[in-house]
């Protein structure tokens, strides 16, 4: 999609916030909390809180980098500042970021469905089906995806209300004590795992902020609200997982939110929330897949010098599908990638790219004004 086309599509602030929440929430409540629980035990909610604060700061930097030219995304901005070839490099970085980010998204999606519901179904089904849905949504464009994210946000609220209601009986606050048992440095280090989740959201902002109405005035505020809302909606889960399951139990599972859902019950008749959870989870996780296709397709179009991203949608879908399949095919590889490789890819880009572009803007701002 070109810049001209981008500016024609307008999404509201609410949609923008919803997109951020959808992109962060799905992995953060379960897969990430399992990783954090293995690092800092019952302090996982604190690590999530620290991660949220860092996310708010980086989102603000992303906004500041774009603020004065609200019609330009990171790729267009770098083209204006440093020329066509550097813009292609930035586009390649964004492409690789979302390609790498597709791994954890598929880990979340596949391990929820396959492990808990359809262990006998072939793996390709869990790759092809969401990609087809994502491809279709992406084909209809950003506005359709943004509207879908609004529905996803409603589902997330419902899911949180249900899990709170289903878990209060077993809530034992003693399981969350002592606070900061592992000390601040270790808790902060664990928060980097949540940083890898909001990294997707700040990069989303780097790509779609020009399409948000009044991005120059309210983009920063909305972005920060989005991250903060995601943090708060997510934080309910580590609190419940710690208090209901205990940190030791949470740390044992790849998808710890499903473990919480499996334990949840309302009275004696409404038991096992797994299916409810998946139903309410479907839109946000499909939005994640959709957005990965969208972001990789526009960055691939930029690299290839195409005016529209539509031709790239099927191509990037195949690339994402192959990569996703390779990652989730082997659990050992998946967990290794999730815990060791993905944060090392996500964090330098999510922290570094906004800071780099902000510095370039400060140094080469005059050039931009002349253009």
């Amino acid at each position: 999609m070109t810049n001209q086309q981008t500016t024609r599509v307008q999404i509201t602030s609410g949609m923008f916030i919803a997109m951020i929440v959808n992109l962060i929430f799905v992995k953060a409540i379960g897969v990430t909390q399992g990783v954090i629980a293995r690092a800092v035990g019952q302090d996982m909610w604190l690590a999530t809180l620290l991660g949220t604060l860092q996310g708010v700061a980086v989102m603000y930097i992303t906004y500041v980098a774009i603020r004065k030219t609200p019609n330009l995304d990171f790729m267009a901005l770098s083209e204006r500042l440093l020329g066509k070839w550097i813009a292609k490099v930035i586009a390649l970085i964004i492409f690789l970021f979302f390609l790498a980010g597709f791994g954890p998204i598929m880990i979340t999606f596949v391990y929820h469905l396959q492990e808990y519901f359809l262990p006998e179904a072939p793996l390709y089904l869990f790759i092809v089906a969401p990609l087809l849905v994502g491809l279709l949504g992406c084909f209809y464009g950003l506005e359709v995806m943004a509207r879908l994210a609004l529905v996803g946000l409603l589902f997330i609220f419902l899911l949180n209300v249900l899990i709170i209601m289903g878990s209060t009986n077993e809530f034992d606050i003693r399981n969350l004590l002592p606070v900061m048992e592992n000390g601040f440095p270790r808790t902060f280090a664990a928060s980097l795992n949540f940083d890898a989740d909001w990294a997707l959201a700040t990069m989303l902002a780097a790509v779609v902020l020009p399409s948000v109405k009044n991005a120059d005035k309210t983009g920063g505020k909305n972005g920060m609200i989005g991250i903060a809302a995601s943090g708060l909606l997510t934080m309910i889960w580590p609190i419940l997982e710690g208090a209901v399951l205990s940190a030791e139990v949470t740390s044992q599972y790849t998808v710890s939110c499903m473990k919480l859902a499996r334990n949840a019950h309302m009275g004696h008749f409404l038991q096992r929330y797994e299916m409810i959870m998946i139903a309410l989870y479907s839109i946000p996780v499909l939005f994640e897949v959709m957005f990965c296709i969208y972001a990789t397709s526009i960055s691939a179009a930029k690299i290839a010098g195409l005016k529209s991203n539509k031709a790239m949608i099927p191509i990037v879908s195949v690339i994402l599908g192959c990569f996703g399949y390779w990652i989730v095919d082997d659990h050992f590889r998946a967990i290794d990638y999730l815990e060791n490789y993905w944060p090392r890819i996500a964090l330098p880009i999510a922290f570094g790219l906004p800071v780099l572009l902000l510095m370039l803007r400060l140094m080469l701002g005059k050039k931009l004004n002349k253009a």
Partner: protein, 395 residues
Amino acid sequence: MKRAAGLVITLIILLSQTSCFGLRQINELAIVTAVGLGLGDKPGTIKVSAQIIRPADARGQTGAPSGGTGQPIYSISAEGTSIFDAIRNLGRVSSRRVYWAHNFLIVMDEDYARKGIKDMVDFFTRNHELRMNTRVAVTPDLPDQVVSTITGLEVVPGEAVDRLFQNNHVVGRAPASDMMNLEEAFLSSSTEPVLARVQLKPRGISNKKPEEHGSLKQVELGGAAAFLGDKMVGWLSVKEARGLLFFLEKLGSGIEVVKCPNNDGVMSIEFKRARLKVTPSYANKEPKFGVRLTTEADIVESGCAIHLDEGIRQDAEEKLEQRLKSNIDSVIDKAQHRYHSDFLKLGDVFRNKYPEEWRVLKRDWNRTFSDAKIDVEVEATIKSGVLKSVGTEIR
């Protein structure tokens, strides 16, 4: 062209969403409602017994519907070198695929529990089919007998035992152990697991032969099995289990029977709103715990045959305090001096208040716990005689 492509994609999406993979028809399933685990006849093997619903007989009321056998359950057992292996071997006997999602109860025999339950905890938490509020208990009887005994008012015996656990807060003589709290205690570094005890007792009276009192065995829930790590170390009596519940669960109420001050009669006192508070302290590198139980109580039955005046009240309060203290002291004594296992969650309380000291003490916590000084204090206040008047005598 675009429409054709759209149609093809839509069709592929629809085909991929039909959910036919992993399909299981309900009439092809053997729905397990209780499972027994014991040691197999051959050394190194495990015996799994399953109570399976017989759908034709389990629907509606008890008794045999037309075409049924009158037996709502079908029980089978198999052996294997692991639980999974034994379960797969059940498939050799069962005409339907064994399905675990509606299991109510896992009951282990004492020998199996003493050997270690690590594999059992792992299997039943690793398997996605099982629900986590499945009750878990240990029995001194044979588990295959327990799971094949028709017990309780429910059509399905597994459900009847589940109901015993659900109503456990009324009786308060065994912990309401399930997979959730077993897994939590099993993985915790600051507490040890404790499971309910179930056993067969001749409590049922046959309607056809009422003169043979107690001719039918029924499952009784009472007492507990204490563990150290994954191995059972011994039993707790119903009295000790009552004391245990104050530590593990919110045992809000219960009945205690005390002797009358003036005759050989007894008085039943229902304690209510019981609250247990554990206060840890640490001095001279030794942990110490203050345990304080406060409760209100009502006199719900009096065989004392005298007016319930202030003197009787004070006497009853003292006796109730002694009884409750005795319950708590007995379970503490067993935990500290007999089993050397902190299943009372005192380690949890200590860890929460003294995290730095815990880092050192946790390495050998059960020994430290065994030597710790624990002071128990009980305060009971009798507030009413329920419907009958107290205080002023009829003149």
